[in-house]
């Protein structure tokens, strides 16, 4: 790994200031970034740890009822304390392995937007709001393709707000070596309709399966899930073909609806 300076500020304002240096980069739990640095795929001049900022850690209910999770909150804490949104807590409890969950953060996962990560599916299916040091971004506007988000250079995710659904479930078909989702589907039923988000399948990263959303909004049952979407644009690799992933989307959506209903 190339060398870099290290800074660990204790406030969001200091972190933003530290990130003002050219080629400075934010460090969450480092569970993706550190392996990336080891491969010399990134060479920041400085890493700014977000792990020492108390205001960015914790879980609470907002005035509007939404579950608010600080950007530097580790997965293990979401798993233990997001009981108001059980499907989200369950998702957090199955990311990576226990040691990874002790370090990895929700903000880090969403900022990285790995096409097979779990949290992007939860955020998109919940219509979450990504709150940064400078603005609020709707999940529908936030995810912009594989490893690409609406975040500007030096912008920090300080909080993620999840509207709590009536029913929800996440089904992850685990790729056992990486423990990422080979394909994962998050289904969330709200009073005004159902949202279905798919991770691990598309070359464009996480996406909403709108056809299933329409069908499930009028009939929330596994039988209502449409047949598998087209395999065009799906990821094909040694672990699964595009057709296989497309098939999994329908299967996992049915399982998620059955588990949630």
């Amino acid at each position: 790994m190339y060398n870099f300076d290290f800074e660990k500020p204790s406030t969001v304002a200091d972190a933003v200031a530290a990130l003002g240096q050219e080629d400075a980069q934010a460090l969450g739990g480092g569970q993706t970034l550190i392996p990336t640095l080891k491969q010399r795929l990134a060479s920041p001049s400085k890493l700014v740890s977000l792990k020492g900022i108390p205001e960015m850690v914790g879980i609470c209910r907002g005035d509007d009822g939404a579950l608010c999770i600080g950007g530097a909150t580790p997965h293990v804490q979401v798993a233990a304390e997001a009981g108001d949104y059980p499907a989200l807590a369950a998702l957090a409890s199955h990311i990576g392995d226990p040691a990874v969950r002790n370090r990895g953060t929700i903000g880090g996962s969403l900022a990285n937007n790995d096409p097979a990560a779990c949290y992007p599916a939860a955020a998109l299916a919940s219509g979450a709001t990504i709150k940064t040091n400078s603005r609020e971004i709707a999940a529908d506007d936030y995810f912009q393709g594989m490893f690409t988000t609406a975040l500007e250079e030096g912008e920090i995710i300080t909080e993620v707000r999840f509207p709590v659904p009536e029913k929800a479930n996440y089904q992850k078909f685990v790729q056992p070596a990486s423990r990422f989702a080979l394909t994962g589907v998050f289904v969330a039923k709200y009073a005004d309709g159902v949202r279905v988000a798919v991770t691990g399948a598309s070359e464009e990263g996480v996406f909403r399966w709108t056809e299933a959303e329409a069908a499930l909004s009028s009939n929330f049952s596994a039988d209502a899930v449409p047949s598998a979407p087209s395999a065009d644009g799906m990821i094909g690799d040694i672990h699964g073909t595009p057709e296989y992933r497309a098939h999994l989307i329908a299967v996992l959506t049915k399982r998620a609806v059955a588990a949630a209903a």
């Binding site: 790994m1 460090l27 480092g30 550190i34 740890s49 392995d97 226990p98 040691a99 002790n102 423990r179």
Partner: protein, 161 residues
Amino acid sequence: MPDIKMKVNGVERSGSVEGRDLLSSFLRDDLGLTGTHVGCDTSQCGACVVHVDGEAVKSCTMLAAEADGAEIVTIEGMAAPDGTLNTIQQAFQDHHGLQCGFCTPGMVMSASALLKENPKPTEAEIRAYLEGNICRCTGYHNIVKAIMAASGQDVGAIAAE
């Protein structure tokens, strides 16, 4: 070079590190605590697991500078000062929970973290908790047995595979 200090196995330790130095290399190269093994160096195998402020962490995937001010426990901190093995280590020996032994430090540290949060885990819970610890020798069976035994449970209840 940032100066860091941390309590390692109950002893205050300090040193100067580069930003890029990993906790695993600080423990092994600077402090000489080579019981923490680096297997894959890609946070897959778990041989490098240590406890940071009581939580299991892969020390190859944490910067040494991040551990400034933390309390660290490594495999060297598990046995009593006179070398008497702790309950988990003794159970690994009794149940042949190791062959080559390379993964064992991480296995013991993960098992210790598991039993702290879940003193009587089921076989399935043990296997799930060890997802991030890879052993290429034992097939895990005797490791699971050892952890069942260390938690005071009946090892015979585990079906042979």
